[in-house]
Structures are given as C-alpha cells and as structure tokens.
C-alpha cells in the first residue's frame, strides 16, 4: 500500500523534472487548541523551486506563481515578507504564536545589492503588491517606511546584511477581508479546488477572533552543500476560532464545525499534505482529549522551547480515506477541564498610551520576562509617525525599580511629512521581571488636507516589534529543520538552548487635535446671510415708496376688543 502511495506521489510530481528546475509543493495544517479555549488553525503552503529567479533567464513557471516570480526577478527582491492581519494575537492568553503579524498590513523586503535606487524599487514593489493583493499597500510612502538596523535580519540565504537594502512598513489602519483572501488563494497551485485549501472559505475565516495571511519569499540552500540557490514561497494563514462561545460552553471542535467543510483529498500536485493536531498533555496530567479518526502517526517535537505531541494525518496515505470518503478531524474532551491557571508565555508585552488633553501624552511599553532564572536581551523596534513628536530626553527604561541602560540605541528622528521616528533598542531583561519603557510625545497640528476621513476615530501608531532569542526551558535536539512541521524552519535557531521569537504589541490609537471641518462653510454661510440681510434691507430702502395710508378696515386689536365685548354683552366699538 505504501509503495502505491509513493508511486502516486512520483507520478504527480513527475512533470517538470526535466526542464529548468524541480519544484515541489508541501501543504500543512496545524490545529492547536489554545489555553483559553480557542482553536488556532494555521495553514502553510510551501512551494520550493530549484531555480534561480534572479538570473532573469527563468520564465517558465509551473507551481511557483508567475506574478510573484516576475516581481522578484524584475525588482531585484532578495526576500519579501507580506502579512495582512485582522485582529490581534493575544500572547498572554493564547500563548506564543507560531508566526505573529501586526494588525493591518506589514511588508518588509530585502533588496539585492545590485539594486541602485532602493526607494524607487520599494515604491514600485508596494504599488504592484497592492494590485496583486487588492490591499492599500500603495499608501506605503516615506512617511511610514523605515530602515531598521537590528530587528529584521534576512531569513533566507544572504551574504552580507547591509541594512540599507531593507525596507519595513506597517499600515495599521488596513482592513483585511475577502478581497485580500481571493488573490492569495489564487497563488496556490491547486487554488481552493483541492487539498487543504478547500477549507479556506471566506465567510468562516473572517468570522473569527484573529485572521492573518502572509506571503514569504526567500532564497534557500538547494541541498546540504549549499552550492546552488532554490527559491521558497511560503503562504501561511492563521485563524483563531472561538469554539468556546460558539459551542455552548464546550471546547470540543471539529473541522466541519470550524470551516463548514471537510477534507476529501490532497492537492494532487503536493508532495506532502499533512494535518497536525496538537495533543500535548498539559499540566502533566494524563491525556484528557481524544481525537477521531485515529491519526496516521504521532509526532513528538520540540517547538518554541516546549515539548509538543502532534497527531498527524497524512492525506497522501491511501488508508486514510479507506473507511470514509472525507476526513473530519474531531477533538473531544473526556471530562470538563477545570479552569486551571493559564500557562504564561516566557516573553510577552503590552503597550498603551496615557496622558490627558490633546497636547501631550505618553507611550508606555511593558515587557515581561517570566523565565524563572535566565535573563535574555530583546530588540525593541518602535515606529512612531511624525505627527507625534517624541521627546527623547523623557525616554526611561525601568526594571525592578532601577534604571535599565540599553546596550544599543538607534534613533532616527522624524522629519515633518517626510519620515517617521525610528527607535531601536537592545534591552537586557533580567529573569522574572517586568520592564517598563516610557516616552513622552507632543501631538502636532496637521494641515487641514492631511486629515484622513473620519479623523475623530483617531490615528493609529503601528505595533512595536520585539525580537528575541528566548532561552528554552528544556533542551532542544538538533533536528533536521527542513523536516520539522510548520514554522520551525522559517526562523533560524542559533543553538539548541534558545529559540527565536518575534512579537508584536498592540497598535495604538491616538487622538490628534482635530479642527471643525465644517467651520469654513459655516463662516461662509453666516457672512453670506449677514451680507444678504443687509443687502435686502438696503435694497428695500432704495426701491420701496412709502406713503401714509388711512386704515380702511378695523385692525386686529379692534376686532379682538369687539369679540371680548360680545362676550361681555357690551355693544361693539
């Protein structure tokens, strides 16, 4: 049976072998119950193409989407990361995300060293991407683009990391919806017609607490010797369903309940098609949950410093569809879980804006390190729009009541209407501590044409970015990164004792002094009315003729007096 399956895979992946380069598609779905009772579903579609896109000679596409391939080749892109997100990943209650993205749209790109005018290429790229993904990425301009020096390293192959080739921008106001999902699905080789992508039904995906879709393009080593380059496209989609409230207080879920679809087959072009269900035992108790149908295999892996157990369903194994025609993964809790303490992630952060009035304010960021005995450094990136004028001398970093001096600070002040503030700091977080970073700002007055529609809604300040190598509580094995599920292979891990985490804080909403936009029209109306009234009376004065007229009929007073007299029985006047 297994041999037959292997044959099937070979035949499906057969064409294309002969020409420019082999390409392969792997599709994965990770279902993980979150501590608070929600369920996170993470899709990942990995297309690997053993061809060098940069040389420009390649123009015959098979699995790799042509639109993106041409973009990479034409604009000299070395690495591209685009994420469109609706909602906010609550690290405190949901735990460490597999791959977080800030609310709104995030785009960061490394360009090739051969690109001479990076800003022009960046502008062009964001415009093209905005066309491809139907997103307002064309609003990316110099006022929201920064060049971080430490936070964003290339995730793929790179020789030399000259950060002048990097551009990073976030649009926190961007609303993500169906029109962004459809072009994203169109990039998949199987579309949404077969494989795991049949579950991607817009009306369910956007009826959720968190939705994030991303595209990552990067060059990777073709093999262990790394003499040739392959290009990798990862399309990921994370969605968090609130099963607790929709399932009448029960935390049971199934594929059909979440997506209103079930899986019937693998994408015929995929060389790997797997569904992982996180069934890690929590609080060292015996397994409380039960998954049906029985999984094809069980995988144990160390992911983000935590030992995890996954039930694996291999959609390419023919035994899976032997008993029933469709796969509907279900999870049931054997007995109601007592609301135990939520496990706290080692690194999490919280940010808010404080102050009163419309002149000044303060941005505070709280970073938590809950590791019992290890301290570790974290790189914090803050991008603040120019209309919030930061007072850098008020920057204070306090840990455990003492001042914490950052070992590295990169600050680029804003220029009005030209570029935003960029603040990057490397801060050491002592074990079991809370670090509070505050900075005061002044709100600027905008020109009246610069206000967006509905300015009283407020102005968004994009999430700050925390990047850290978090020490692992348990030792991690050095495993074959390429084979491990999902995202472990996206971020490089330096050694077995720590793992890379990138977190985003909440975006901020700040009110700016907003003028009364109807005021000019009100002034026009008022002055015009005054002028018109003056004109009218003057005109009347000039044109009317006045002459004395004898009262011919009784006046109103006289008539009234007569009525009263009638009542009194007195003869009228």
């Amino acid at each position: 049976m297994l041999a037959a399956a292997a044959l099937l895979v070979l035949l499906a992946a057969g064409p294309g072998r002969a020409d420019t380069g082999r390409d392969a598609l792997r599709e994965e779905l990770l279902l993980s119950p979150l501590p608070a009772g929600d369920v996170a579903a993470t899709f990942q579609f990995r297309t690997r193409w053993d061809a060098d896109l940069q040389r420009g000679a390649v123009s015959h596409y098979r699995l790799f989407p042509k639109a993106l391939g041409r973009l990479v080749a034409a604009l000299g892109v070395r690495e591209l990361h685009l994420a469109l997100t609706q909602g906010f990943w609550r690290t405190r209650t949901w735990g460490q995300p597999p791959l977080q993205a800030p609310a709104g749209a995030e785009l960061w790109v490394w360009f090739q060293p051969t690109v001479t005018d990076v800003d022009k290429a960046w502008k062009e790229l964001s415009n093209i991407l905005s066309g491809i993904f139907c997103a307002s990425l064309n609003f990316i301009d110099s006022t929201n683009t920064v060049t971080p020096t430490a936070s964003f390293r290339p995730l793929g192959l790179a020789n030399g990391t000259d950060h002048h080739l990097l551009r990073y921008a976030v649009l926190p106001r961007e609303v993500v919806c169906t029109e962004n999902l459809t072009p994203w699905k169109k990039l998949l080789p199987c579309g949404s017609k077969a494989g795991l992508a049949v579950l991607l039904k817009a009306e369910r995906l956007f009826h959720s607490s968190y939705h994030s879709q991303a595209v990552h393009i990067r060059p990777v080593c073709r093999d262990a010797s790394c003499l040739a380059v392959s290009w990798e496209l990862r399309q990921t989609l994370t969605v968090v369903f609130d099963t607790f409230s929709s399932g009448q207080g029960k935390k049971d879920w199934s594929l059909f309940k979440m997506f209103s679809r079930t899986l019937t087959d693998a994408c015929p072009l995929a060389s790997e098609s797997k569904v992982y269900v996180d069934i890690s035992p929590k609080n060292k108790e015996k397994e409380l949950l039960e998954v049906t149908p029985p999984p094809t295999s069980v995988l144990e892996a160390v992911v983000q410093g935590d030992k995890r157990t996954y039930a694996v369903y291999d959609l390419l194994s023919p035994s899976l569809f032997n008993t029933s025609r469709s796969l509907n993964v279900q999870l049931k809790w054997k007995r109601p879980q007592e609301s135990s303490e939520l496990p706290v992630p080692i690194l999490h952060a919280h940010r808010y804006v404080s102050g009163y009035g419309l002149q000044t304010g303060e941005i505070s960021t709280l970073i938590y390190n809950t590791h019992p005995y290890r301290a570790f450094p974290v790189v914090l990136l803050e991008t603040v729009p120019w209309y919030l004028r930061l007072y850098v001398h008020t920057l204070t970093i306090i840990t455990k009541g003492k001042e914490n001096k950052p070992s590295y600070i990169h600050y680029q002040p804003a220029q009005d209407r030209r570029r935003p503030h960029l603040l990057e700091m490397l801060i050491q977080l002592p074990a079991n501590s809370v670090t509070k970073i505050t900075i005061q700002f002044e709100r600027a007055l905008l020109k009246w044409t610069e206000y967006p529609p509905d300015p009283n809604h407020g102005f968004y300040v994009s999430s700050s970015v925390l990047s850290a190598l978090v020490p692992s509580v348990i030792a991690m094995k050095d495993m074959d990164v390429e084979q491990s599920p999902l995202f472990t292979s996206l971020f490089p891990s330096s050694d077995g004792s720590s793992y890379f985490v990138r977190l985003y804080t909440e975006p901020l909403l700040v009110n700016l002094p907003t003028p009364d936009f109807s005021m000019p029209y009100n002034v026009i109306c008022l002055t015009c009315t005054v002028v018109a009234v003056c004109y009218g009376s003057f005109y009347n004065l000039l044109t009317r003729t006045f002459h004395v007229e004898e009262p011919s009929r009784a006046g109103l007073a006289k008539r009234l007096a007569n009525v009263i007299r009638k009542f009194r029985g007195v003869p009228p006047l």
């Binding site: 044959l7 499906a12 064409p15 123009s59 199987c190 077969a194 009315t529 002028v531």
Partner: protein, 493 residues
C-alpha cells in the same frame, strides 16, 4: 496652448524606394488613401530601372526560384523599405507553370515578363502593394479614426502598436488528478518562437514566459454530441470561454506592455474529447481559435488510455510541434501578418525557419510607423482638448518639453517617411509616442485635481439665494403693476 492642436496626418507622403546600383531611369507612382475625412495618406513609389549585373545574371542562372532567391540575397542592397524586382524573360524556367510573380524570403521578387508592358505594370503595382502596404492595411492601422461599421471585423484584429509586448504561454490543466501534463515549453520557445521574435526585435521588445495553471476551467460547459461521442464547443459560446480563465492568468504586474496570451487547454477527462465547432456546425480542423488583440486558445485532446484500468494520473507529453504551429499562425494573425488573398499567378515563398520574411517585417514597420504617428496626433489633440476644457490647469516645464519633443519627433518621422527612410522614421515615431504618452499621463494633469466651477457656485448659494429673494419679489411686483396699469385704461373707457 493652441499650438498643440495637431490635426490629422494630413498630406503625409510615403515613398517606397526601389534602389539600384546604377540608376539610369527613375519614375514614380503616387497613390492617395483617405481612410477618413480628416486623415489622408499619400504614398509614392519611386521606381528605378536598370539592367542586371553579371553577378545577378549568374545568380539567376539556377534551376528553381528558391535557389535564385537565396543566391540573389547577398547581392542586394537590403535597406529597410526597399524592394528589388527582377524581371525574367517569359521563356525562363525559373518560375513554375502558371506562376508569373514569385516573392522571395527577403526583399526581392521575380516577375515573368510577357503579356506586354501593361500586364507587367499591373503585376508590379500589385507586387509593391503586397510587399509594402495596401489601402486596407493602412485603413486597419488607422482604425481608431475610422467610424465604426466602415471596416470589416478583421481590421480590428491587429494589436496596437506598442514599444513592447509580453507573450505568455499558459497550459491549462483543469484535471490534474487524471492528467499529468508535461510540455517542453522552454525548448519549443527557443526553437520556434525565438527566431521570429529575433526578427521582430526591430519592431518592439518582446518577453516570453509560460506558466501552468491547474484547476482552470473554461467558462462554458461543452455540449455532448451522441453521434461522435465527443463534446462540442459551439462558435457562439466561445466569447464566454475566456472570462473565468483570465482572472487566473495574472496579468503582467511589472510592466505596462500589452500581453498576448496563448492558452493550451487540456480538457478534463469527463469532457474529452472536446472539439470546437464553427458557425456552420462543422468541427474546426485546428481545434483552436483566437481572440482579437488578446491571444489564442487551442484545445489539446488527450487520447483515452488503451486500457480503462490504466492508473491515474495519465502521463501526457504535449506534441509541441503541433501546438507551436498553431500558436505561431495565431501570432502572425495578431500582428496583422496574415497573407492576403492573391491572384493565382502569385507565388509566395514560405518564410521558413525564421517565421517571417524580410518584406513582411517592412510591412509591419510601415504600418506601425503610421499608427504611431496617428497615435501621437490623437494623444496630443486630446491633451489640447483637456487644456481647453480646464482653463487653470498648470503645465509644468517637463510636460511642456515632452510635448515639444513629441511634436519634433513626429515631424521628423513624417519627414523621414516622405524620404523613404523607413528605419529612422520608425525610430522617430517610437520616440514621439513615448514622449506624448509621458506628457499625457503625467500625474499633474489629473483633471480631478482641479476644482470645477459649478462647485464654487454651490458654495456661494447662501449668498446668492437670500440676495435673489428681494430682487425676485420686486420683479414680481413690477410685473403685477404693469399688468394693473394695462388693465386700468380699459376700465377708464
């Protein structure tokens, strides 16, 4: 700004030169075409007659016309837009029986003398038109200026002249579970498409790419025909076929050039074999059709496996020769290089491996130069109209210099055309198009940036309305009083 109003291409003259080594006698023929009232195109053929040289005599002294054509090629002055015609005696055995005009692969032709000078002259006139341009080909490139309904459907088939084109070959495999289709497109492009594009590189830049789209279905469900146990797509349903596919083709995001799409459709297993029917209900022999200014689609049926138990997916190797034959024919059609109906005594040499004869390239250049000049004049005219409409529009210096450059280049192109310098005329016309488009699409000329006057009036309604009230009232009063005054004298009587 009235300076920029350029009318039609009035009084433009074209010369097709016929050069020779010695030029003892010259004479010229003038034609005038006027596709529209405002546009007229004048052409003049300058003919030079001379005797053949000894080398040419030797080259003509071969068995067949094809060999003579090949031997004569190195002896010619092969400048763009010129033709060399060799008049061979009636007794010559070079041309086959019944053929009196032979058009070679390059810029030369053989004409058999006979039937007197008048017959020779008609042959020459037809020949020069075939090898350069005809009234209908001129009308086709100026089709934007011709009112609808005056031209046949074929004239709108041609692609607009552009600085570059993108050619995309797409393999549509709606059923990857049953068919694992493999096409060696890279080799096919290098072997069949690249030679013709190399030749056309003078006309425009080309880029070729290909993609495979899975689960891409046509927009029409084919009809099952019991007699032939096959599926049929009727001609009237073809316009609806492309729409759902087009959404997935992924238009070129990185460039602004027009895209030519060539789709190879391998029908689903449940819908094969699939045949295209023409208007009369007969199956189309090529099983392909093209869409004007868009590209072509070919249906490639996969033979059913010999044994029904054959394991799926079925491995299919596409026969690229068959496919490319049709795509190349469609490519020629889209560029307006279709061979027109000719009198039976004409014999055209097939362009061979290059896919395009030299004189066909000239034809394309003549047509594109003319189209470019017409486009420039249209663009600048509409820009002038825009300026007339919005009085307070600001023309920046760079826009103005682009306009000046466009006009100068267009004038150069017209002057070069009238001298018969096809290549430099084409280059100048290209430059004119680029400049005029850049001026026209300059973001500062966006007309939404300028306030329309009616909105200004709307703002001042609070002033005008109350002021109008006493004026109107007193007007009404005056009317009332004059009426009363008119009535009063009659009462007096």
């Amino acid at each position: 700004m009235g300076l920029w109003k350029v009318g039609g291409v009035a009084g433009l003259s074209l010369w097709a030169m016929e050069r020779s080594l010695q030029s003892p006698r010259t004479h010229s023929i003038t034609h005038a075409f006027s596709p529209t009232v405002r546009t007229s195109v004048m052409s003049r053929y300058e003919m030079v007659y001379r005797g053949t040289t000894a080398q040419e005599e030797a080259a003509l002294d071969v068995a067949t016309a094809r060999e003579a054509d090949a031997a004569l090629h190195p002896l010619q002055d092969a400048s763009l837009g010129s033709l060399t015609v060799y008049v061979v005696p009636e007794t010559s055995s070079l041309l086959p029986q019944g053929v009196s005009v032979y058009v070679g692969k390059h810029r030369s032709a053989l004409v058999k003398a006979g039937g007197g000078l008048a017959a020779l002259r008609t042959h020459l006139r037809q020949l020069t038109q075939v090898m350069s341009f005809t009234a209908s080909s001129i009308a086709a490139v100026l089709s934007d200026r011709v009112p609808d309904g005056q031209l046949g459907p074929d004239t709108r088939r041609h692609l607009k002249s552009s600085l570059g084109y993108e050619i995309t070959f797409s393999l549509l495999n709606p059923d990857p579970k049953s068919h694992a289709v493999h096409w060696d497109i890279e080799h096919a492009v290098n072997r069949y498409v690249q030679p013709i594009l190399d030749k056309l590189s003078l006309v425009a830049n080309f880029s070729v790419d290909s993609q495979i789209l899975y689960y891409a279905v046509l927009g029409v469900t084919p009809r099952f025909d019991k007699e032939s146990s096959s599926f049929l797509l009727s001609a009237h349903s073809l316009p609806h076929v492309i729409n759902p596919v087009e959404a997935r083709l992924g238009s070129s995001a990185a460039s602004l050039y027009p895209v030519l799409n060539f789709l190879l459709y391998v029908p689903e297993r449940s819908h094969s074999p699939l045949y295209i029917q023409d208007k009369d209900g007969a199956p189309v022999s090529t099983n392909a059709f093209h869409s004007p200014r868009w590209g072509g689609i070919m249906v490639y049926n996969v033979e059913a496996p010999a044994s029904p138990q054959a394991s799926l997916p079925l491995h299919v190797d596409v026969d690229m020769v068959r496919v490319m034959e049709i795509f190349l024919a469609q490519l020629r059609l889209l560029f307006g290089l279709s061979r027109e109906e000719l009198p039976p005594e004409f014999l055209l040499e097939s362009p061979g491996n290059e896919g395009l004869a030299d004189w066909e390239l000239d034809r394309l250049l003549w047509a594109h130069t003319l189209e470019n000049i017409a486009t420039v004049s249209t663009t600048l005219t509409s820009l002038a109209q825009l300026l007339d409409k919005i009085g307070n529009i600001v023309i920046k210096d760079d826009v103005a210099s682009e306009v000046y450059q466009a006009v100068a280049s267009a004038q150069t192109a017209v002057a070069e055309l009238s001298l018969g310098h096809l290549h430099s005329a084409f280059q100048a016309s290209k430059k004119a198009v680029t400049s005029s488009e850049r001026a026209f699409f300059d973001p500062s000329l966006l007309h939404l940036l300028y306030f329309p006057d009616d909105q200004k009036f709307a703002i001042y309604i609070p002033l005008f309305l109350p002021m109008a009230v006493p004026i109107l009232l007193s007007l009404a009063k005056i009317v009332r009083e004059t009426r009363q005054r008119k009535k009063e004298p009659t009462k007096m009587d």
